[in-house]
């Protein structure tokens, strides 16, 4: 079929309006493009919002998990701190007992092999920490061993103050306060 247009002799209308030019097709096109664009961005935003919500829930769960782990670590640290404090106390005690050790050694060396030292107490004075309260028990010994002890202590620059000596059968109880002599 060819492309001519068939004749027409109808009564013309007076109320016809001019058709819009083709360039105006950009208006509905732009409108529909805007709709599509808006729909696209709204969908993307909605998906991003949902993803963010999911991430937030995951992060909160992770935070809770980490908080629990941190609390556990804090508890462990507190236990360790307690242990450390105890160890430090022990170390301090050891450090504090360092000056008593030569005294104990000197007393032990002063004892002859046939005499037994059954009990030995060395206590620091609470009022005067440099003074030491000495109490000991000697089995099978005599006053000679006591003097040997005093001699040994005097070599360490300690002087016996108000010594008390009791003999009960084979056991000799000796009490004294050791005072450090300044050079």
């Amino acid at each position: 079929m060819s492309d001519y247009i068939c004749h027409d002799f109808k009564t013309p209308r007076n109320d016809t309006s001019r058709r819009l030019p083709d360039t105006f097709k950009a208006v509905p096109l732009f409108f529909f493009l805007s709709l599509v664009g808006s729909a696209y961005f709204m969908t993307m935003d909605w998906m991003a919002y949902k993803h963010a919500q999911k991430t937030k829930i995951e992060a909160e769960a992770r935070k809770t998990e980490l908080d629990e782990a941190a609390k556990k670590l804090t508890d462990e640290k507190a236990v360790l701190d307690t242990e450390t404090a105890k160890a430090e106390s022990l170390a301090k005690w050891m450090e504090g007992a360092r000056n008593v050790q030569p005294i104990a050694t000197a007393i032990a060396r002063a004892m002859p092999p046939e005499v037994r030292l059954s009990d030995l107490n060395l206590e620091r004075s609470e009022q005067v920490p440099s003074n030491l309260s000495l109490s000991l028990r000697i089995n099978g010994g005599s006053a000679a061993e006591v003097s040997l002890i005093e001699t040994g202590l005097s070599r360490l620059q300690y002087r016996s103050f108000s010594p008390q000596q009791n003999k009960n059968e084979e056991v000799i109880e000796y009490r004294s306060t050791l005072v450090r002599q300044e050079q």
């Binding site: 247009i5 068939c6 004749h7 002799f9 013309p12 105006f24 529909f32």
Partner: protein, 289 residues
């Protein structure tokens, strides 16, 4: 109203041609819409509808005056026509004549519709509606003159039953336009200088004779009725006899009335006439172009 205008812009309807825009082919005006084609003859009316896909759908024929048939078929027709738009072929009370040195140009078709006196000059008759078809190589033109009262009464009848006329044309002249385009425009260089064209459309007949490359004679008769084979032959025979022997004769008809077509072709085949008719040709011509 404003909402309708916005809707028409957003649906691109505002950019589509008006349903009664004569400068646009019918098929393009009703793309994706149903439309109705009606052929009004003297004693019968036939119709055919296009569906939304642009294919032929329902059809029908009814004997009688158009003014009596239309109210009876109004509901059926309204369902076939989207928006009530229909194309009407008036096949009665018209005459086709040969004219020379008629005005030609791009705007002549519109001018002939709005101000026919400017185109036709003294040939203009106040009570007629006109259409023209030009010979592509000579100054000759076929001029269709249809009774204005017939056009107006047909439009009024359709208006009264709620239909709107998107086009009013003449089926016989439309078939001749089609044949001229096929024979004289498309095959311009190979057109024989002597030939005859016989067109028939539901009881109307026209014979156009070309001699020495010029349209020499045209005879037309409308409203003969369906069984007017003898009358048609009386019109055709003297004109064809004027042509040199062996000159091609082409026959074109509406493609609906097989009885008339076979009877007339039985005579025309004796002079080796070529039948250009296709099924539903009238509806194709007025419903696609």
């Amino acid at each position: 109203m404003l909402l309708d205008e916005i809707k028409s812009v957003l649906t691109f309807a505002a950019f589509k041609p008006e349903s009664d825009d004569s400068n646009v082919a019918w098929a393009k005006r009703f793309e994706g819409r149903k439309s109705l084609l009606i052929n009004v003859s003297r004693s019968q009316t036939s119709w055919r509808s296009f569906n939304k896909k642009g294919r032929f759908d329902e059809s029908g024929v009814m004997e009688g005056e158009f003014a009596d048939i239309a109210p009876q078929r109004a509901d059926e027709w309204r369902q076939m026509a989207e928006g009530g738009w229909c194309c009407v072929s008036i096949n009665n009370r018209f005459i086709v004549s040969l004219e020379n040195n008629m005005m030609r140009g791009d705007n002549v078709t519109d001018l002939l519709r709005t101000n026919p006196r400017a185109v036709l000059g003294p040939k203009y008759d106040r009570g007629k509606r006109y259409a023209m078809c030009h010979h592509p190589d000579t100054t000759a033109s076929m001029l269709l003159a249809c009774e204005e009262s017939m056009v107006k009464s047909t439009e009024d009848v359709l208006k009264n039953i709620g239909l709107r006329t998107g086009r009013v044309c003449c089926g016989l002249f439309a078939l001749m336009e089609h044949a001229v385009t096929e024979l004289y425009v498309k095959q311009r260089l190979s057109t024989p200088t002597n030939s005859a064209l016989v067109a028939a459309c539901e009881g109307s007949i026209a014979v156009l004779v070309q001699q020495d490359g010029q349209w020499k004679e045209l005879r037309c008769r409308s409203g003969m009725g369906q069984d007017a084979v003898e009358t048609s032959l009386q019109i055709i025979t003297p004109l064809v006899q004027k042509l040199p022997q062996g000159s091609p004769v082409h026959f074109i008809s509406d493609g609906q009335d097989l009885k008339f077509r076979s009877e007339i072709m039985a005579h025309l085949e004796k002079i080796s006439a070529v039948d250009m008719t296709q099924d539903d040709l009238l509806w194709r011509v007025i419903g696609l172009h």
